[in-house]
Amino acid sequence: MSDTAPLVAIVDYGLGNLFSVSQACRRAGLETTITSSRAAILDADAVILPGVGAFGNAMSALERLDLVSPIRDIAASGSPLLGICLGFQLLMTESSEFGRCRGLGILEGEVLRLPDDRSRRLKVPQVGWNQIVRGPGAPSDWIGSPLAGVPDGAHMYLVHSYFVRPAEVMNQLSMTRHGDVEFCSSVWRENIFASQFHPERSGEAGLSIYRNLRARMIERKEKQDV
């Protein structure tokens, strides 16, 4: 079956820019299924938890669709799991958006509101292209990581009012500055990569993240086939 394109399940919980994510995957040579089926998620070669929306609604939707345990199972299975924007935040322990909410708890950490400062023209939500730089957990030049091939200081597209503070510093793959706040804009731990920015909306630099995902999926499939 190694001649077929690897299959990504994009989790559909009624929210999110699923089409954009799907198109970016296809551009990178991946097959996609947009699904809220537990079986389809568990059968896929990789899973993307996308992200537009409010944290509390998203968690309620995942619980209602009974998708919390399959996403946790994927995280534990070694299959690539990619969280984007809200999908990144959902992986964490809890969020303070519209009152405190528990997250999936796959990664230790919390989700906090970005501060605004009108006198310095710091707006919230932060909307736009901001730079990502190597985080404390990043290998030199991001080699071998999901950001391999992305230049240090590349601009990525973000739209968010909240940011993630992971408990584990060494999971922080990239950092981004918003005024005085330098926040973790992506994390990487084994099979899990998640970013506050939208790789599917970040032009060619963002698409390289999907190409890296495809390479990891092919590598993993080949190992399994052997």
């Binding site: 040579g29 736009g128 601009h155 032009g203």
Partner: protein, 291 residues
């Protein structure tokens, strides 16, 4: 501040990219998806599609254009015109939009902003404020592409929209729109200084200097540019060949009216100008690789 965004705005009527021309009505410029792709490849930071007649006649085929565009462009895409309900927002997002732009439905029922923000996240909801200057210097919000008065004061409305959960405010000066005489800097600064959320200036760009002016003096977080870029794109040969233009005012495309007096610019021209002015922006990637 976050780097300023440069956003080509594509006004769509039916299958066509159009441009409102004083006393002439809507002029057909070409196929919107071709321009969108051209701008993406040239380094546009975001794209805006505005269905210019949806508020009048109900929904049309804009979402098909959105879907085709989202297949080949990988920057944010905002869609406006005729968004009236949570279902409309869902449909736009599912078609490939990242954000929706709302005016009429939000003024008619402000609680719609909160419902939309709670359901889809503030960052998905852009509130469009179309402002007309009154003789006393105040600005009134209009709807339906500047055709209908609301009696609502524009600055108060922008603040209220932000409180209700809007993620961005797009300000269009109806007086300046299509004039190429520059943005309304006073209006833009008043709103940008009053709201905690990003403000997109729209309507009136005639030169690159107008853009730096509305960023530096108008405190805009993003700028929308329409005909200034469209005429530049046409001059640079964005492909319209082989397309079927059987709808709308196509005299301009057929060349019967001759070239526009308006000079167009490219995205690179604008970014070079921003760099000269010391304005933070996303530098153009060197080239777009083909996969």
């Amino acid at each position: 501040m976050t780097p300023v965004r440069l956003i080509p705005r594509l006004d769509v009527k039916g299958p066509n990219l159009v441009k409102g021309i004083h006393l002439e009505g809507l002029r057909v410029l070409g196929k919107p998806e071709r321009f969108a792709r051209f701008y993406y490849e040239q380094g546009a930071d975001e794209l805006v599609y505005m269905d210019v007649v949806a508020s009048l006649y109900g929904r049309n085929n804009l979402l098909d254009i959105v879907t085709r565009t989202a297949r080949e462009t990988f920057v944010p895409l905002a869609v406006g015109g005729g968004i009236r309900s949570l279902d409309d927002i869902r449909d736009a997002l599912r078609a490939g939009a990242d954000k929706v732009i709302i005016n009429t439905a939000a003024i008619a029922r402000p609680a719609f902003i909160r419902e939309a923000a709670e359901r889809y996240g503030s960052s998905t909801i852009v509130i469009s404020v179309e402002a007309v200057r009154s003789p006393d210097g105040r600005y009134e919000a209009y709807t339906d592409n500047g055709r209908e008065r609301t009696g609502v004061e524009a600055l108060e409305w922008a603040c209220r929209a932000a409180e209700l959960g809007a993620g961005e405010i797009m300000i269009t000066s109806v007086d300046r729109e299509g004039t190429a005489k520059g943005f309304d800097v006073v209006l833009t600064a008043a709103i940008a200084d009053a709201v905690p959320i990003p403000v997109i200036a729209c309507g009136g760009a005639g030169t690159v200097n107008h853009l730096s002016e509305v960023i530096l003096a108008g405190h805009a977080d993003a700028v929308c540019v329409a005909s200034l870029l469209h005429y530049g794109a046409l001059a640079r040969g964005v492909a319209n060949d082989g397309d079927d233009f059987s709808e709308g005012n196509v005299e301009f495309l057929r060349g019967a009216r001759g070239p526009s007096r308006r000079q167009g610019v490219s995205i690179q021209d604008i970014k070079a100008h921003l760099a000269d002015c010391g304005i933070k922006h996303r530098p153009n990637s060197t080239e777009v690789s083909i996969v």
